[in-house]
C-alpha cells in the first residue's frame, strides 16, 4: 500500500554553482533498488530467524562491540581498520556542486553513467535554476563536477531534460572495462546480405516506445498470488502473536512517494519563514518580488519587500 510520506527529506540538499551564481537545490533519487517482494527466513516452526555473528574458533556468538573491520592483504593477513579512522579520511560532505567545465553531453560514453538523481529548486526564486536548465538543454550540454555524497566522492554530470535538472553520477575510469581488457578479439567482417536481412527485420519490429508495462517482476507477482491464496485458505499460516512485525528500513520508501514529493518540490509549493526573508540582502528580495510580479516593488524598502513577498506566498 503506498504510504503518505509528505515529510520525506531530500537525499541531499545544497547548491549548484555556475560561475558565481548559486542555485539552491534538493536532490532526490530517480530510482530505488527495491525487491518487489521480500521473504523472511523462518525456522520449521514458522519463527522468523535472527542473524548473529559467530567467531569460528570459539564457536560463540560475538556482540557488535567485539567486531572490527579488517582488510585482507595479498599475503592473507588482516589489517584492522577502525570506523573512526575511515570517518577521518572520508571527504567532507559537499554542500555545493561547482560546475567548472561544460561538455557536449553526447561525448559522455554510455558506460560511464551510474546512478541518476533529480534536482528540484530549493528557493523561492526559480530563475537561476531555469536559466541553467535552459542553457544546458538547448545545446545538449552537461556541466561536470565532483562532489561528495554519503561519504563517497563522485564525478557528476548535471544535465537538463524537459526543464528538470538531473545529476547523473559517473563512474571512474578504472571502473569501466573495455572490450580489449576483457579479451574480446577483433570482430569479423559482416556479410552484407545477412546484415540487410537483419535490418529488414529490425525495421519491421520497431515500436515507438519502451513497453514499460512489461518491466515487472513476474516471479514476485506469481509468488504473491500463491501466498495470497494460501493466506485466504489459512494454509501454512503462522500467527505472529507477540512478536513484532519487522518494520521496513528507511530505504523501503516506494517510488510513488518519491513522485509525489518531487512533483511538489518542482511546483514550488513551500512555506517560507518570515524571519529568514528579512535577513536576505535587498537585491535578492527584489528579485523574488520580480519573480512574483509584485507591483510597486521599485519603490519599496527592504522591510516592505519582505512583507509583500510574505503576503504573496502565504
Amino acid at each position: 500500500m503506498p504510504k503518505q510520506n509528505k515529510g520525506m527529506r531530500p537525499f541531499w540538499s545544497g547548491t549548484i554553482s555556475f560561475g558565481l551564481v548559486t542555485i539552491p537545490v534538493a536532490m532526490y533519487p530517480a530510482t530505488r533498488s527495491a525487491q518487489a517482494l521480500s521473504l523472511r527466513m523462518l525456522s520449521p516452526d514458522g519463527t522468523p530467524l535472527s542473524r548473529i555473528y559467530v567467531c569460528p574458533d570459539h564457536d560463540e556468538p560475538v556482540d557488535a562491540d567485539e567486531i572490527v573491520r579488517g582488510y585482507e592483504t595479498e599475503d592473507g593477513r588482516y589489517v584492522r581498520v577502525e570506523d573512526e579512522e575511515l570517518e577521518r579520511l572520508a571527504p567532507e560532505k559537499s554542500r555545493d556542486i561547482d560546475l567548472r567545465q561544460f561538455v557536449d553531453r553526447d561525448q559522455i560514453p554510455l558506460l560511464y553513467f551510474d546512478r541518476l538523481y533529480f534536482l528540484a529548486p530549493a528557493s523561492e526564486s526559480t530563475k537561476a535554476y531555469r536559466l541553467l536548465a535552459e542553457s544546458l538543454e538547448d545545446r545538449r550540454t552537461a556541466g561536470i563536477a565532483t562532489f561528495v555524497l554519503r561519504g563517497n566522492e563522485h564525478v557528476v554530470a548535471i544535465l537538463s531534460e524537459g526543464g528538470v535538472l538531473r545529476a547523473q553520477l559517473l563512474r571512474f575510469e578504472d571502473e569501466v572495462r573495455s572490450p580489449v581488457s576483457i579479451g574480446m578479439g577483433e570482430p569479423e567482417q559482416a556479410n552484407k546480405r545477412d546484415v540487410d536481412a537483419l535490418r529488414k527485420i529490425i525495421r519491421g519490429r520497431t515500436r515507438k516506445d519502451l513497453d514499460e508495462e512489461a518491466l515487472v517482476d513476474e516471479t514476485a507477482e506469481k509468488l504473491r498470488q500463491v501466498a495470497a491464496e494460501k493466506a485466504k485458505a489459512g494454509k501454512d499460516v503462522v500467527k505472529q502473536g507477540s512478536r513484532k512485525r519487522r518494520r521496513g528500513t528507511g530505504e523501503d520508501v516506494e517510488v510513488i512517494d518519491l513522485v509525489q514529493v518531487l512533483q511538489r518540490s518542482l511546483k514550488g509549493k513551500k512555506k517560507r519563514r518570515g524571519r529568514e526573508l528579512s535577513q536576505e540582502p535587498k537585491d535578492v528580495l527584489y528579485e523574488k518580488a520580480q519573480d512574483l510580479g509584485i507591483r510597486g516593488r521599485s519603490s519599496m524598502s527592504k522591510t516592505e519587500l519582505a512583507e509583500a513577498i510574505e503576503r504573496a506566498t502565504a
Binding site: L111, E175, E188, I201, D236
Partner: protein, 258 residues
C-alpha cells in the same frame, strides 16, 4: 581473458547468435571483512532461532511471506514452480529508438562477446548500428527473469539490464519549475558563460581519492607506519543574479586570457 557470467543465444525470428556475457564494469570498492576484535579471526554469519539461539541449517530454513493474516510459510515445491526455467534463449522482443529510453531505466551493463559463429555476431552488430536501434531482450539468468537493452558499441554488442517499473520514477510525469519569463539579457549572459567554460571531456582526470586514501591507510598499517590526515574545505556566498552573472563572465574572460 575475463570469465563470462553466462552463455546464451540471442534469438530474432529464425536468426540465432551465440553469445557470452561479461560484466562491463569493475567493482573497485574497498571491501572489508568483519573480524572478532580479540583474535582478528573473520566472523561467520549464522541464522538462528531467536529463542534457543540454535542454528537452523540452510536446508531446513523455510521462506515466509508476511501477510495480514500472519506469516505464510512457502514450501520448496511452491517456490520451485514460480522460479523461471533455466534457458540459454535471449529473446529480442522488439526494437526502439535509443532516445525513447530514459537512462533511469538502465541498471547494469554487460558486454556480449561472440559465443559461436563470429559472422552471425558481426552481422547483428552491423545491423543494429546501421538502424541505430535498441533491441529489447528478455532472458533468464541466475533463476531470475531479466530485461535488457541491446545496442552496438563500435564493433561489439552491449546489453544493459533494465530496472523494474516499481523501481523507477517516471520522468515524463515531472513538472518543470515555472516562474517569471527569463529576459533576453539573462539568457545571453548564461549562454556566454557556459560556452566560455566549455571544453573536451577527460574522464581520466578524475580519480576516486577517498578510495586511494583508504588504501594508503591500509598499506601504512600493513607496513607498521602511521597514516596521514586530509585538509578541510572552503565555503561559498550568494548574491544578486545579474551581478553574479556579469562578474562570472569577467572572471572567465580573465582566465581565458591568462
Amino acid at each position: 581473458m575475463a570469465q563470462s557470467i553466462f552463455n546464451g543465444t540471442l534469438r530474432l525470428g529464425e536468426h540465432a547468435v551465440a553469445v557470452k556475457l561479461y560484466s562491463a564494469v569493475e567493482d573497485r570498492r574497498v571491501h572489508f571483512r568483519l573480524l572478532h576484535a580479540v583474535d582478528g579471526v573473520p566472523v561467520r554469519q549464522r541464522m538462528v532461532h531467536p529463542d534457543s539461539g540454535d542454528e537452523v541449517p540452510r536446508d531446513e530454513v523455510v521462506r515466509g511471506y508476511e501477510s495480514e493474516a500472519g506469516m505464510v510459510m512457502l514450501r520448496d515445491e511452491e517456490l520451485e514452480i514460480v522460479t523461471p526455467a533455466r534457458s540459454r534463449d535471449m529473446e529480442i522482443e522488439y526494437f526502439v529508438d535509443p532516445e525513447r529510453v530514459d537512462l533511469a531505466w538502465y541498471q547494469r551493463p554487460y558486454y556480449l562477446g561472440p559465443g559461436g559463429d563470429p559472422g552471425a555476431y558481426a552481422a547483428l552488430c552491423s545491423a543494429l548500428r546501421a538502424e541505430n536501434k535498441l533491441g529489447i531482450v528478455r532472458w533468464v539468468m541466475r533463476k531470475k527473469v531479466y530485461h535488457g537493452a541491446l545496442r552496438s558499441l563500435d564493433d561489439h554488442l552491449l546489453l544493459v539490464s533494465l530496472r523494474f517499473r516499481h523501481e523507477v520514477v517516471p520522468a515524463d510525469g515531472l513538472p518543470a519549475p515555472s516562474g517569471r519569463e527569463l529576459t533576453k539579457r539573462e539568457r545571453e549572459m548564461a549562454r556566454q558563460l557556459v560556452s566560455m567554460l566549455e571544453g573536451d571531456l577527460d574522464l581520466g582526470a578524475f580519480e576516486d581519492e577517498y578510495r586511494e586514501r583508504v588504501l594508503s591507510l591500509i598499506r601504512a598499517k600493513a607496513e607498521g607506519r602511521a597514516p596521514e590526515l586530509p585538509k578541510a574545505k572552503r565555503k561559498r556566498k550568494a548574491g544578486g543574479l545579474a551581478n553574479a552573472l556579469s562578474a562570472s563572465i569577467e572572471k572567465a574572460k580573465e582566465r581565458k586570457v591568462a
